[in-house]
Subunit: 191 residues, 2 copies
DNA sequence: ACGACTGTTCAAGAAAATTTGAACAAACTG
DNA sequence: CAGTTTGTTCAAATTTTCTTGAACAGTCGT
């Protein structure tokens, strides 16, 4: 009890001894997530919550990570939208409390589902559209140009095929089914 | 012959009819690669080369993509370092010619091997170091704080375990072996 | 309903990255 | 061996992205 009370009161001097370790882990995951196309702070916030036995307030988070409250609000909101963090309430308390979604696996699945699949689909669409343009242009071309265009079409359809195999693999991942990367390999077998 | 000669001479007006389709596909892959943490232009350059039946010069590339020669040099150099593009030479010609590595699968493998594995390893190291700090700090703590630290240690070791499973999965991908994503799932089974 | 306390949004400022032109270096030609 | 062409590097300038403080909005207790 005394510790919990003290933790809330202490402004920012006399940090707990474990703070450094906490930040180190948070930064490591922050880099990982940044690399993965998310805000760095999203990873840092999630980690701090993940390492905390109880939900935390935005004030505690901004104090721990030395972030402005607006930055916390922004990244935390995005984490909530991704389902990586949940809002919880405390009986009497007025503030919002936040806790981490603990299943990393669940999180990965959600991201692949929502984001990677979209990304691939957009690429597939772009390839299809490019193909259509080539076919439309083909009639008016001379033999030399026609050979050129046919080469492009062959290559484009290979890119399409690869993308579709990739899409299927991601779907299997999302479904938690085993996958075989050599499917990709065989998608570009014939040269 | 006449076409090939004309292509080299034409400055930038009267673009070939297929140019638009080419750029569309290039941009699609550019976005994909950007999302994957590479320069957008790397994807665009690779695609243009991939869609070309013969190797191209830097001049042709910068003309096609409307890029300055320095930008071409920079991104092309990086592509060469990644093995995504090869330099080739032509009998009489003075300029360098470039051609795309055609096996996307090979490229993916190389990137995972060189980049993702490193990334994961750094995270694993960070977790280990954070663990060590916690253990070092533990002796001087009261019972309340000790419980807090023990919670963190449990969580950190779970992150470590997850990372290591992830590392193993990536290694299997690189080796072209089938993988089972539920391994990740089971790495965080016990709560 | 008012006042105090939280959380969010926004626009200005700071920081980081990309882009480019020019200077430099290297390689081939006559 | 000069002169020309090609490729790379660098620093300045632009663009983009991040960050922040302040204004705004919402909620709860009195």
């Amino acid at each position: 009890m005394s510790t919990a009370a003290a933790k809330q009161e202490e402004p920012n001097d006399s940090q707990p001894l474990w703070r450094e370790a906490e930040l180190q882990a948070a930064d490591a995951i922050g880099r990982l997530m940044e690399f993965w196309g998310f805000r760095r702070h999203m990873g840092r916030l999630w980690t701090v919550l993940y390492l905390s036995p109880e939900p935390m307030t935005t004030a505690e988070l901004s104090d721990t990570l030395r972030l402005s409250s607006s930055a916390v609000s922004l990244s935390l909101g995005e984490l909530v939208r991704w389902g990586a963090v949940r809002k919880t309430w405390r009986p009497g308390e007025r503030k919002d409390f936040y806790e981490a979604e603990n299943s990393v696996w669940k999180l990965l699945r959600r991201v692949y589902e929502r984001r990677e699949l979209n990304l691939i689909k957009e690429a597939v669409d772009a390839f299809a559209e490019a193909q259509a343009r080539l076919e439309a242009a083909r009639p008016g071309l001379g033999p030399e140009e026609r050979r050129r265009v046919d080469f492009m079409r062959k290559r484009l359809s290979r890119l399409s095929a690869l993308s579709k195999v990739g899409e299927r693999l991601v779907r299997l991942i999302v479904a938690g089914r085993p996958i075989n990367p050599t499917d990709l390999q065989s998608a570009e077998e014939e040269d």
